[in-house]
C-alpha cells in the first residue's frame, strides 16, 4: 500500500521536478521565463505525436526535448537579443504553446498513446517498501533525479556554474570581467526549455499516455512556484516537487474513495496549496532577498 502510494506520488512529482529544475537554472542566470507551461504543453503534444507515429517513446522524448528547446530559443531571441520584457514574453510563449499544441493535437484526440515501459533494476527493485518506488520506475524518473544531482553539482561545484550564478547576480560585473552574459543566458534558457519539453513528454508518454488539450493543467506554473518555494536550491526543488506530488495524489485518492467534499474542491487543492506555500515562503523577506538572483528579470544591454 505505502509502496504504491509512493510510486504514484513519484509519477505526479516527476514532471514538476524536471520542469522546475530547468527553470531553476534559467532563473539562476537572471532570466525569468514564464513560458514553462507553453514549452511543456508543446513537449507533451510533440512527444505524443512522434511516439505514436514512430512507435518509439524514446524518439517521442527526444522530440519533446527538442521542441522545448526550440521554443525557449525563440524566447531567448526576444528577451536576450531584442531585450523585450521578460514577463510579457514568457506569457506570450505560454499562450503560443497552448494555441499551437491545441491545433497540432486536434488530430491526436482519442488516439491510444505509447507508454514508456518502466526500467526495472534487478535485485534492488525487490527491496521491501522502497524497492519498486526507487528501482522500478519509468526511465525519466531516474533522469529527473540525475538532473537534480547534476544541476546541484554544476551550480555549486564547477567554474561554469559559478559563472552562470555570477551572471544572474550581477550581470554588469560579470560583463566587466569578460563573461559573455548573453551567451550564458542563451545556454541557460535553452536548457530550461529542454527540461520543460522533457517534462511535457513525461506527461503524455508516462503519466497519462494520451493527448488531452491543455493537459499540463497549470503544472508549468506550479513548477515556477516550486522554484520560488525552493529559494533557488536544487535539492529543495526535489522536496517541493514531492510535496506537491503528494498533495495532488492525496486529493485524487480522496476523490476515488468518495470523500463527501465536492470533487472540484479537491481538484483545487494543489493550486491553493501553491498559493499558501508561496505566502509562507515570501513572508520571510530576508530569506527570499538573500536567495533571489539579484538580476532576475532585469534586461541586459552591453554598453559600448
Amino acid at each position: 500500500m505505502l509502496e504504491s502510494v509512493l510510486i504514484t506520488i513519484a509519477t505526479a512529482a516527476t514532471p514538476l521536478l524536471i520542469a522546475a529544475i530547468g527553470e531553476l537554472v534559467v532563473e539562476r542566470s537572471g532570466v525569468l521565463n514564464l513560458g514553462v507551461e507553453g514549452m511543456m504543453v508543446m513537449g507533451a503534444v510533440t512527444g505524443f505525436g512522434v511516439a505514436i507515429t514512430t512507435g518509439s517513446p524514446w524518439l517521442g522524448v527526444f522530440a519533446a526535448i527538442l521542441v522545448g528547446a526550440a521554443f525557449a530559443l525563440l524566447f531567448g531571441f526576444l528577451t536576450l537579443s531584442l531585450v523585450t520584457n521578460q514577463v510579457a514574453t514568457g506569457l506570450a510563449l505560454t499562450l503560443l504553446g497552448l494555441g499551437v499544441s491545441g491545433m497540432i493535437g486536434e488530430a491526436f484526440i482519442g488516439l491510444p498513446g505509447v507508454k514508456m515501459a518502466p526500467l526495472v533494476i534487478p535485485v534492488l527493485s525487490d527491496l521491501p517498501v522502497v524497492g519498486r518506488f526507487l528501482f522500478a520506475q519509468a526511465p525519466l524518473f531516474y533522469i529527473s533525479i540525475l538532473l537534480v544531482i547534476g544541476v546541484s553539482y554544476f551550480l555549486f561545484n564547477t567554474r561554469a556554474g559559478l559563472t552562470l550564478r555570477s551572471v544572474g547576480d550581477n550581470h554588469d560585473s560579470a560583463h566587466a570581467l569578460g563573461i559573455k552574459v548573453i551567451a550564458v543566458r542563451y545556454a541557460a534558457v535553452v536548457f530550461g526549455g529542454a527540461c520543460a519539453g522533457l517534462a511535457g513528454g513525461y506527461l503524455s508518454l508516462v503519466y497519462t499516455p494520451q493527448w488531452i488539450e491543455n493537459m499540463t493543467a497549470g503544472r508549468g506554473w506550479i513548477a515556477l512556484a516550486l522554484v520560488v518555494f525552493a529559494s533557488w536550491r536544487p535539492w529543495r526543488v526535489l522536496a517541493g516537487a514531492y510535496l506537491f506530488g503528494a498533495v495532488s495524489i492525496g486529493q485524487l485518492h480522496a476523490q476515488v474513495i468518495g470523500v463527501s467534499v465536492p470533487s472540484q474542491f479537491l481538484s483545487a487543492l494543489p493550486y491553493l496549496a501553491t498559493v499558501a506555500v508561496l505566502v509562507l515562503i515570501s513572508r520571510n523577506r530576508r530569506l527570499t532577498m538573500v536567495n533571489t538572483p539579484a538580476c532576475l528579470g532585469r534586461p541586459f544591454v552591453p554598453a559600448r
Partner: protein, 366 residues
Amino acid sequence: MMRLELVKRPQHSVLFSAISPLIALVLTMIAGAIMFSILGKNPLDALYYYFIDPLRETWSLHELAIKAAPLILIAVGLSVCFLSNNWNIGAEGQFIAGAIAGSILPVVFPDFQTWLVLPLMLVMGVAGGAAYAAVPAFLKARFNTNEILTSLMLVYVAQLFLDWIVRGPWRDPGGMNFPETRDFHAFAILPELMPSAGRANWGIVFAVLAALILWFILRKTRKGFEIRVLGQSPRAGRFAGFSSSRMVMVAFLISGGLAGLAGISEVAGAIGQLQPSISPGYGFTAIIVAFLGRLNPLGIVAAGFVLALSYLGGEAAQISLGLSDKAARAFQGMLLFFVLGCDTLIHYRIRLAGRAMRGGEVTTNA
C-alpha cells in the same frame, strides 16, 4: 554569422511607437499565411476568412462587438496594472468571479424582478471581480508574494468553483439535469443596442466608456502620473511620496473590477445564464490586447476589435475551410510575440554587425 546589435535611441521613436503594432500585425499575417500553407490551405483564402469575411455583414459586426467588449474591458484594466508594474495575469479568474457574484440575484432570487436587478447585478459583478483580485494584491502588498503566480493559480480555482456551482447548488431545477443555471429573467438581461440589426449589447458601450475614463485618468490626472512613475521607477516614486503597496491594491482593484464587469456583462448579455465554461480565454487574450494597444486605453479599443476579429475569423475559417478553430489561439500567441519584438524598435536601433559570433550562442546541454 551576422550579429544583432542594439543601439539605444536617445529618445524613444515617435514614429515606431505609432507603427510598431501595425508592423506586428503584418508580420503576424505573413507568419499566419505560412502556417496555413503548411496546414495545406490556400493562405489567401484563410486570411480572407480570418480578417475580411467577418466584416462583411451587419449581424457579424454585432458579433464582433460582443467579442470585443470583454477583451477591451479587461485589457483596459490590465493596462493600469502593467503600467504600474503589477503583473495581474489572473483576469480570467476575476472575470469568472464577477460573473458568479453578479448572477446571485437572478439565480438565487429569481422572483425578485424589478428594473433594479440589472444595475445591482453589474455592481455586484464589479465587486466580485475586484474582491477576487484583491487576494493576490493583498498577498503582494502584505507578504511580498509573487502576484503573477498567485493570480494565475486563482484562475484554476475560480474555474473549478464555477464548475461546482453550476453542477451543484445552482443547477436549474427544471433543466433536465444539464449543468447550467436557470435562464436569467427579463430584468436581468443586458439589453441589446439595436435588436433588429444584431445581438450587440451594452457591454461594448461599457467597454468604450471604461477606456475613455481610464485614458483620462492615466493621461490627465496626478493619479495617472503616479501609476506611470511607480511602474517605471519604484525608487523615484517612493521619493515622490507615492506608496507602491497602495498602488498594488489600486491597480488590482481597478483591473479586477473591470474584469468582473466584463464577466457579468457576458453572462447577462450574450449567454443569459451561467454555464460550466463562460469564456473562451478572454482573460488571457486580453493580455495580448493590452500590449497590442501599447497599454494606451484608446489603442486598446482598436486592439480589442483586432483580437475579436481573430475569434470570429477562426470560426469563419473553420466553417468555410475546415481549419481548426484552435488556429486562432496560435495566431493570437504569434501576434503577441511580434508585438513585443517590434516594440524594441521604439527604444533601440537594430544594427546587423557582420562579425563572427563569439562563443556558442546556442548550446544545448540537456
